[in-house]
């Protein structure tokens, strides 16, 4: 087991090196080169561009530039934002908790709601419930998250008092400064809208996945054997079927998290949720390349960690796999 984890860690490391190269390469492909893009400012003279080129060492060989950048990254120095002039690590550090907070709660809710629906759908295959859920899941998968968010804002948020449409907290309601219940109520109110959109968006796919996985297992011989030897339906479903059907779901965790992370760019920009997604959008508009590069790296680090955790969990939950 220890060896397996170490092997996977090494593999993840190479993956991240690949990601950093790819990210670096994309930015390098930018037409006109880095210095010129920064110098899109009409006031920038050729002299300014030359000075920036020298300052950032843009005349060096590409691999020298990459190594310089990568070394800084490894040391935790993501450089400074071009737009704000502040250290990127600090900017992202401020925003990351809000995004993780929102997405972890979202992910938990999605799994808690979707798994039972998927299981029940499969157990009662072709029942009314199954048909309804499959239909709803189809609708959910085709619904753009932002459109759903707009409808929710218009038909619920604007009609019902007390549901905040933007932000994460009321100013002044801080942890430790107000009674805990007041703090909790305030945070929860702000969570209603973004969380609904996240959960709605994630449910459909997982319900279908869980249902398919259950159906795979239900038709296995050992389930028929369990039935044949007279075990109760309850034991057959929960002990023999669900536990096996959950295995592929576990592996999907890593990707699920990264999917949410990408999706939170849209959700954060709709609800002005002060997370990294909002920062990413600002970086795109201001062409803040160092920030964008840092984003890709942090995004993939989180994805890689997610996949790693999923893989290890997989070994833990499936005793058939030994390392």
């Amino acid at each position: 087991m220890g060896r397996y984890i170490i092997g996977r860690l090494v593999q993840s490391l190479f993956l991240l090196i690949g990601v950093s190269m790819l990210t670096f390469a994309i930015i390098q492909m930018a037409p006109g080169g880095f210095a010129q893009m920064v110098g899109e400012n009409p006031d920038a003279t050729a002299e300014d561009t030359a000075r920036l080129t020298a300052l950032w060492g843009l005349d060096d060989h590409i691999h020298v530039q990459y190594l310089r950048w990568a070394t800084q990254m490894v040391q935790g120095n993501f450089g400074n934002s071009l737009a704000q002039g502040r250290p990127i690590a600090q900017m992202i550090g401020e925003r990351l908790p809000a995004t993780i907070f929102l997405n972890i709660i979202g992910l938990l809710l999605i799994y808690v709601i979707a798994l039972p629906i998927g299981i029940y759908s499969a157990v009662k295959q072709y029942s009314k419930f199954d048909h309804t859920m499959t239909f709803l899941a189809f609708l959910g998968q085709a619904m753009p998250a932002f459109f759903f968010a707009m409808l929710l804002i218009y038909y619920v948020g604007m009609q019902v008092a007390g549901i905040p449409l933007a932000g994460m907290a009321t100013i002044g309601v801080e942890w430790g400064e107000v009674p805990f219940m007041t703090w909790l109520a305030d945070r929860s109110r702000y969570l209603i809208m973004p969380l609904t959109v996240i959960v709605f968006g994630g449910l459909a796919g997982l319900v279908r996945f869980m249902r398919a996985s259950m159906l795979d297992v239900i038709h296995q011989d050992y389930v028929r054997t369990a039935r044949a030897k007279g075990l109760s339906e309850r034991v057959v479903v929960f002990k023999h079927t669900v536990r096996n059907a959950l295995l592929p779901i576990v592996t999907s965790l890593g990707f699920a998290f990264s999917g949410l992370l990408g999706g939170s760019v849209v959700i954060e920009s709709i609800f002005a949720w002060p997370g990294v997604g909002l920062l990413a959008i600002q970086a795109i508009f201001t062409r803040d390349y160092p920030v964008i590069m840092a984003f890709n790296l942090i995004g993939s680090i989180m994805l890689v960690i997610g996949m790693l955790v999923a893989d290890i969990l997989y070994v833990v939950v499936d005793p058939r796999i030994k390392y």
Binding site: V19, L151, M293
Partner: protein, 296 residues
């Protein structure tokens, strides 16, 4: 197409024992998927409207002041008007051209690259497979939407670029799909048989393996079209999509700022995106059932 013919369970689907071609069978099975058939009808209508937009549009989509500002939908302006008194119906007709073609081109790019890479990796295996799969993993390790945003930030945001970007960022999953198919198919007895009678690699791939991977490729392409339309609308919604002429996603983004008193500017383009994606997903579902009943 004889080689592409999978085991046909004629009795199981109520077929006559009479010889029928593979595609006739597919059509027979596809026809019975009601939602898929409805979807085909809807999409045919949408595409017809998109192509005929210049003939059907009552106004120039960019012409300002053809009606009052923010007029709600009426007989004169079926989709209302916007802030500048432009006819939204005409704008939606022209937007259809963008939204509907983005899906096809992006899915085409994604599937083409994916199929080529996946076929090479799966057929040759070994070190070639290793290298190609590691490349796929690297691309997949960046959350897709982040990668998209990065590329969009770097390159000029033209319609073509948006299509290409969506294609270039989503091909690895296609490559993995095709590779998996190739890995299992190349071990099949009939491939071995072809090899033993001296068929060359290219011929084996083109004649014996590729046709048998068509079912998952076609299904995946269909689903990708819907996915790409969703992605484009998401980018547009963030204000970095196709703006001239405005795609449905961009129209929705414009409408979002005045939705308190002009909700139709959001609901109409939004519903159209929703229906289009839904239709592609249903067709994909219908094709999956029709092409390979065993996949169900």
């Amino acid at each position: 197409m004889a080689t592409a013919q999978p085991k046909v369970q004629g009795a199981a689907v109520g077929m006559s024992p009479k010889e029928e071609t593979f595609w006739q069978l597919v059509w027979y099975r596809f026809r019975r998927h009601k939602m898929a058939m409805i979807s085909v009808a809807i999409l045919l209508l949408f595409y017809f409207v998109a192509i005929a937009a210049p003939l059907l549009a009552p106004h120039d989509p960019m012409e300002v002041g053809v009606g009052p500002r923010f007029a709600p939908p009426s007989w004169e302006f079926p989709a209302g008007t916007d802030r500048l008194g432009r006819d939204l119906f005409s704008r939606i007709l022209y937007g259809a051209r963008i939204s509907l073609s983005v899906g096809f081109v992006a899915a085409g790019v994604s599937m083409t690259i994916g199929t080529i890479v996946g076929a090479i990796a799966g057929y040759f295996g070994g070190i070639v497979d290793e290298v190609l799969m590691r490349i796929c993993e690297v691309i997949m390790a960046i959350p897709t939407f982040f990668l998209l945003l990065t590329v969009v930030a770097v390159f000029e945001r033209s319609m073509l670029n948006i299509m290409l970007v969506i294609g270039f960022t989503t091909w690895p999953s296609a490559a993995r799909l095709v590779r998996g198919q190739f890995l299992s198919l190349r071990e099949m007895d009939y491939v071995e048989a072809a090899r033993s009678i001296g068929a060359k690699g290219g011929r084996i791939v083109a004649q014996h393996i590729l046709p048998n991977t068509m079912a998952p490729i076609i299904v995946s392409t269909t689903l990708r079209v819907g996915g790409a339309i969703l992605t484009e609308s998401g980018l547009s919604f963030l204000g970095i999509g196709v703006t001239n002429p405005a795609s449905w996603g961009t129209l929705l983004e414009i409408g979002r700022h005045t939705m308190q008193f002009a909700i139709w500017m959001v609901t109409i383009p939004g519903t159209l995106i929703f229906i289009t994606v839904l239709a592609f997903n249903y067709i994909g579902d219908g094709l999956r059932d029709a092409l390979d009943p065993q996949l169900k």
